[in-house]
Structure formats: structure tokens, C-alpha cells
């Protein structure tokens, strides 16, 4: 059963022998054209940003061009050589990493408990957890500021890492619970018969079984923490300012340095594009929260 679950989740090509190639018809072509147009529309804004990052400000403001006439990586070098930007980039990556580790670690046993046992108040607790996922960040901006200021964590990476647990812990529990459900209960019983203690079983047998799920969950925690900016900017001032906030801040101060702004924007896409590549075969299942 576990193998079955895994095979439906993988996106390996399975040729369908029962489906013969249909004759060339206009009705078969239309979806392809529509799909191509969609992909084009999806890529255009991103391409435009890359295009602008490679052009100088004079070139940007003087003419509208589909490709840079004198492409230069000057703005990227500028960012790499400026300690403020580099520091902010490391800050962003650090709090995202801390948050991901915390969220996945606490969520693993909880997801197991929710899936395997009945306990008093389990349904209410699960709903309460999910409800935090739906709480508007704007509601929490002010109280979080007070809270983290009071405990002396304001403007540290820990403040942001902990604040993002608000939605990442419920996300992690939710996704992992779906993956735990895919592991048959007989495996738990077999391990108990074989004399495994529970912690040993959990770490040595169970976690490797849902390794895909752990990977996907970590990816989602990474993603949600990386893209969230309202709380991240509210809880930081200078030392732990995230990269994207430095970016917004810089254009209000220095006028409109379009090309620098575009280059910084392009850089924020790179970590996401890298991590998504590793989970590409499981991402669809992950977005369905392990529930397909």
C-alpha cells in the first residue's frame, strides 16, 4: 500500500497504452495554444524584471525595449559588494532556515499523533491550529511588535523565525498528517512486535518512510517564510532587516534606481527556484497537502 501511494505521487512518465494517438484536429490544437499563451503571460512580468535589471537607468527611462541593448551585470556586482545587501540576504536565509527546522521538528510527532490516535479535544485542537493559518498577518503585526519588544527579541532573526511559526507550524502539521496517513498502520504494529521502542521506531523507521513528505513540508515552510514580508518588516529595524525590505526601503531613499530594484528583485527569486527544483516531483502532492 505504501508503494502504491508513492507511485501515484511520483510524476514519472507512465505511457497510457489504452489511449491511442488521436488524429490531428483543431480541437486538439486549441488547448495547446491556450496553454502556451498562459505560460507566456506567466513569464512576461518575470522576464521584464530580468530585462530591466540588465539595463542602465538611462536606457530604461529613455526607451521601451524588449531586450537590453547593452546588457550589463553592474547592478548585481553592486549588490554583491555592498555589505548591507549581503547581510540582509544572509539574514533572510537564516531566519527562514531556523523557522523551517523548528516547524518541521515540532510538527512531526504532532502529525503522527493526530493521524494515529484519538485523544480528548483532538478535532478542536486541529481546527484551532488550522485557524491560525487563516489569521490575517495584519491582525498580529501590532501585538507581535509589543510581544517581541517586551521579551527583548525585537530586531533579531529569532523574532522573525518564531513569528513565522504562527502559520508554518499549522501548515507543517497539516501537510505531514496527509503523508502520515499514507503509511499503513501495520508497519507501526510490526515494529512494536519486533521490539522497537517508540522513539527508535519513529526516528529509524517512520521518518525515513515519510522522507518525501518531510522534504515537501520543509519546502513549504521555506516558501511561506521566504515570501512573507509584513511580519518580517514589522519585527525588524536594522540588524535583522530582510532582503526584500532593504529593497523597498532603498527606493524610497535613493529615488528611483529602477535597475538596482530590478536586480534585487531577480535575486529574491533564486533561492525559491533552487529549492523547488528538488521537490518538483512531489510538489503537486504537497500543494494538495498530502491529501490526494
Amino acid at each position: 500500500m505504501a508503494a502504491e501511494v508513492l507511485s501515484t505521487s511520483s510524476l514519472v512518465a507512465v505511457e497510457n497504452p489504452a489511449r491511442p494517438r488521436r488524429a490531428f484536429r483543431l480541437t486538439n490544437l486549441l488547448p495547446r495554444i491556450g496553454f502556451a499563451i498562459y505560460l507566456l503571460a506567466l513569464m512576461l512580468p518575470i522576464y521584464w524584471l530580468i530585462n530591466m535589471s540588465l539595463r542602465s537607468n538611462e536606457e530604461i527611462t529613455s526607451s521601451l525595449a524588449f531586450w537590453p541593448h547593452h546588457p550589463s551585470l553592474q547592478k548585481y556586482f553592486f549588490i554583491f559588494n555592498d555589505p548591507t545587501w549581503v547581510h540582509a540576504f544572509m539574514v533572510s536565509l537564516t531566519y527562514v532556515a531556523i523557522n523551517t527546522v523548528i516547524s518541521v521538528t515540532v510538527a512531526l510527532p504532532a502529525a503522527y499523533a493526530f493521524n494515529r490516535y484519538h485523544f480528548i479535544g483532538d478535532k478542536y485542537l486541529f481546527f484551532w491550529l488550522l485557524s491560525n493559518l487563516m489569521a490575517p498577518a495584519a491582525v498580529y503585526a501590532m501585538p507581535f511588535f509589543n510581544l517581541y519588544y517586551a521579551i527583548g527579541l525585537f530586531d533579531t532573526i529569532w523574532a522573525v523565525a518564531l513569528a513565522h511559526c504562527l502559520f508554518n507550524v499549522p501548515v507543517a502539521v497539516w501537510i505531514l498528517e496527509g503523508f502520515v496517513a499514507g503509511v499503513p498502520r501495520e508497519i507501526d504494529e510490526m515494529a512494536a512486535i519486533d521490539g522497537y521502542s517508540f522513539p527508535r521506531f519513529f526516528i529509524r523507521i517512520f521518518i525515513p518512510l515519510i522522507a518525501n513528505g518531510v522534504g515537501v513540508t520543509a519546502f513549504f515552510c521555506f516558501m511561506f517564510s521566504w515570501v512573507e514580508q509584513l511580519l518580517a518588516t514589522t519585527l525588524t529595524a536594522t540588524d535583522a532587516l530582510p532582503f526584500a525590505a532593504v529593497m523597498t526601503r532603498s527606493y524610497s531613499v535613493a529615488g528611483m534606481d529602477w535597475s538596482l530594484l530590478a536586480a534585487a528583485g531577480v535575486l529574491t527569486m533564486i533561492p525559491g527556484a533552487l529549492v523547488i527544483w528538488f521537490v518538483r516531483n512531489h510538489i503537486a502532492k504537497g500543494f494538495a497537502l498530502g491529501r490526494v
Binding site: F35, A110, A113, F119
Partner: protein, 295 residues
């Protein structure tokens, strides 16, 4: 199979509980505290009862009118984006190949917009929609449309909708695609034997099987549009006038801009209560679907 009753499972949930209590309940109590007090400045607070709530829920007061306007604006925005994103997402998911080397790269490309920090999305579209340096703005102006995000309310509103569709249709596509992949081939074979049309296959086989992922998709999308903040904040700042002042933007304006803590706290609670209610309805539907599936 029935789950065994085991209250020691609470121990396994305890770390999550502590963490979420710290990051959700504690701050929430501050909000509750503010919502029933008024301040004369200098950190002096006195009891104000339910006055803030009565003002907020009464559309004839200034704050009440503001709240109900923002609520209506936000609801219409959520419904319009859902109406655009769900059909588009399903259609694109149906166009994706079911297998082959192209699937991985295609999924990565489609998911890319979701991995961009939200204020970068805002900046990206701020540039993209400008008539002088952005392709989108220039193209629309070139077509002779009166398009100006910072001055024209309709332009601003439509731009936020376009941004949201661009940003989040990928979520619907991926969810639907995952759901489609889980349909066994036997169903399609049966449809072929019955000589069912493509449309009949979609209505009778695919759509019912997609029910569950679509409920998740609609829930997530509704909540996200209902909480939208960063993109309109960067692109339009809530304007022109208050055309794109959605609930979160209004709340932050009151709380951090005007430092009207009482009304802001009351608004937070009502706002949160609305999202909770909607979330609960969806959750009930979801558990019902679960039960029907395992029954």
C-alpha cells in the same frame, strides 16, 4: 479502521501547542485587551466596554462606514478573483501533459510566482504596469485605453485582480493537477468504452474526483485574498482614494498609521471572527467529504 483512544498523544502535540500558544494566543490577548480600553495617551488606559465594537458594527459612524466599505470591497475582490482563478486553473491543469520529461520543468515554471516575496511581486508589477517603463502599462495605453494605476480607480482595482490571478492561479493548477493524477486510468477506459465525449468525461469523472482538492484550493485562495495586504500596499498603497483599501490595509492604516489602538483591536477581532467562521464552514465540508470517502 477505528483509531485507538490514547490521551498520551497529547504529549506529542505539546510542543506544537506551546509554540502556537506563544505566537497566537498571547498576542491575541493583547488585542482583546486593547479592544475594551481607551487611552488618553502616555500609556494610560481605562475601561471602555464594548463601545469600540458598537461603533465598528454601526455603519452610520465613521469607523463603521469605513469597515463595512472595506469588507464589501474585500468580499467582491475575493469573489471576482476566485471566479477567474478556479476555471482558469482547472483549464490549464487539464492542458498539462500527464507524463513525460516536460512535466517537472513545467511545474517548476508554473510554481515560480508563488516563491517570490510578496513585496517583490508588488514592485515587479508596479514597474510592469507603468505606462512609461512597463510593458503592461505601455501596451494598454498603446491600445488607447485610459490606464493609470495611481489615478484611475478602475485601473487600480483591475490591476490588483490581474496581479492576484497571475500570482495565485498556479496554486489552483498544481492542486488540480495533483487531483487529476490520482484518478485511475480505469475510469478513463470506462469512459472510452461508453464513447463519452471529452466534456462528459470532465463533468462525470474528473470534476467529482477533484471535489476534495478544489475545496482545499478554494479555501486557501479565499483566505489569502481576504487577507491580501502586501501587493496592493506596494502597487497602489490602497488608493486612489480608497479604491483598493482592503481589510488588512485599512487595519494597518488604523493600527500603525493613526495608532488608534482601540478601534484597530476591535476591528482585528471582528475581522478574525469572520475568517474563522468561513474557515470553519469549509473545514466542516472537508471532514464531511473525508467521512464519505472512508465510509
Amino acid at each position: 479502521m477505528e483509531k485507538p483512544l490514547n490521551n498520551r498523544a497529547w504529549l506529542m502535540v505539546a510542543p506544537v501547542l506551546v509554540l502556537v500558544l506563544f505566537s497566537a494566543l498571547l498576542p491575541m490577548m493583547t488585542v482583546v485587551n486593547y479592544s475594551v480600553q481607551d487611552s488618553l495617551g502616555q500609556n494610560q488606559f481605562f475601561w471602555n466596554g464594548d463601545a469600540w465594537f458598537r461603533d465598528l458594527l454601526n455603519p452610520s459612524t465613521e469607523i463603521g462606514a469605513r469597515f463595512s466599505d472595506a469588507l464589501l470591497r474585500n468580499l467582491s475582490f475575493s469573489l471576482v478573483t476566485l471566479a477567474l482563478e478556479v476555471p482558469l486553473g482547472i483549464a490549464i491543469a487539464l492542458c498539462l501533459p500527464r507524463g513525460g520529461w516536460a512535466v517537472g520543468p513545467l511545474l517548476v515554471i508554473i510554481a515560480l510566482p508563488m516563491l517570490i516575496p510578496w513585496n517583490v511581486i508588488g514592485t515587479m508589477w508596479q514597474i510592469f504596469s507603468r505606462a512609461d517603463i512597463g510593458l503592461f502599462g505601455a501596451a494598454l495605453t498603446g491600445l488607447g485605453l485610459h490606464y493609470n494605476v495611481t489615478q484611475n480607480a478602475i485601473s487600480a482595482w483591475c490591476t490588483i485582480v490581474v496581479i492576484d490571478v497571475w500570482h495565485w492561479t498556479p496554486l489552483i493548477i498544481l492542486l488540480t493537477y495533483a487531483g487529476l493524477r490520482a484518478i485511475p486510468d480505469a475510469y478513463y477506459q470506462a469512459a472510452r468504452i461508453d464513447a463519452a465525449s471529452r466534456w462528459a468525461t470532465f463533468i462525470n469523472i474528473e470534476l467529482p474526483k477533484l471535489q476534495k482538492v478544489l475545496v482545499i484550493a478554494i479555501l486557501l485562495r479565499f483566505m489569502q485574498t481576504f487577507m491580501i495586504y502586501t501587493e496592493p500596499f506596494v502597487v497602489t498603497g490602497g488608493g486612489p482614494g480608497s479604491a483598493t483599501t482592503f481589510l488588512s490595509i485599512d487595519l494597518v492604516k488604523i493600527a500603525l498609521g493613526q495608532v488608534d489602538l482601540g478601534p484597530a483591536a476591535a476591528m482585528s477581532l471582528v475581522y478574525n471572527l469572520i475568517t474563522l467562521t468561513i474557515c470553519w464552514i469549509f473545514f466542516t465540508i472537508m471532514t464531511q467529504l473525508d467521512r464519505r470517502r472512508y465510509a
